[in-house]
Subunit: 134 residues, 2 copies
């Protein structure tokens, strides 16, 4: 059975999980100084969690400490229009456990930008949803 929401196909949990795992770049929405903000991040999936690297003292890191954030990944082609998007919402936290940090290092995740990005943030998805252009 295919569920449609205003012209968009609603993806199953399994489809969402598979698309999250295949993505490389997503966006995190946080609140910084009472204003919404969106940051692109390159990421990986570890035990179902979204993990990415960030710097010391960045706005992003400050905003992420135990905050509920939205993470989104999509692939959309303008013409002819096709594509999908998956969103995960959950609490963000910094990974400090040495074993967990080793597991992240084993993923081969490297920051795309230079500068210091030695902190690892994990988002544990509480809600995951996805849509596909039909």
């Amino acid at each position: 059975m295919t569920l449609i929401d205003n012209g968009l196909e609603i993806l199953s949990q399994d489809q969402c999980d598979a698309l999250l795992r295949q993505g490389a770049v997503g966006r995190v929405a946080v609140t910084v100084a009472a204003l919404p903000a969106i940051f692109p991040v390159n990421y990986a999936v570890l035990d179902g969690d979204i993990v990415f690297l960030t710097g010391d003292g960045t706005k992003l890191r400050a905003a992420l400490v135990r905050a509920v954030v939205a993470f989104e990944v999509d692939h959309i082609d303008p013409g002819p229009p096709s594509g999908w998007s998956v969103m995960a919402v959950g609490v963000a936290e910094e990974i400090t456990d040495p074993g967990d940090l080793r597991a992240v290092a084993d993923l081969g995740l490297r920051p795309f930008a230079g500068g210091d990005r030695s902190h690892v943030v994990r988002i544990r998805p509480e809600f995951v949803s996805g849509r596909r252009i039909t």
Copy 2:
């Protein structure tokens, strides 16, 4: 002069404006039922405002009424890493003025997804910032 922020080049206002105008798909971050959410939208720029179409009764539309939202567009290639992102923050409002609606129609903006997307939302950027991978 090039400003660098943690390995990322800070783009000028003119560069940000040019990149906003060349994009086709961006993402809007809003708060829905006290939770952050990110929606991809295809958009155009009209007199410096970001405009896009949405449906009647969608969560997105409800969340957008006079809310301060973040809009982001980026183009990021994983390997070798290169790309840019531009974020605009401002108040979102529905366009109802007939002249403004005609101006939007003249842009040729068409929703990528099916379903009803006959409402036009405008974000008037108050703050615009951009970064590029160096």
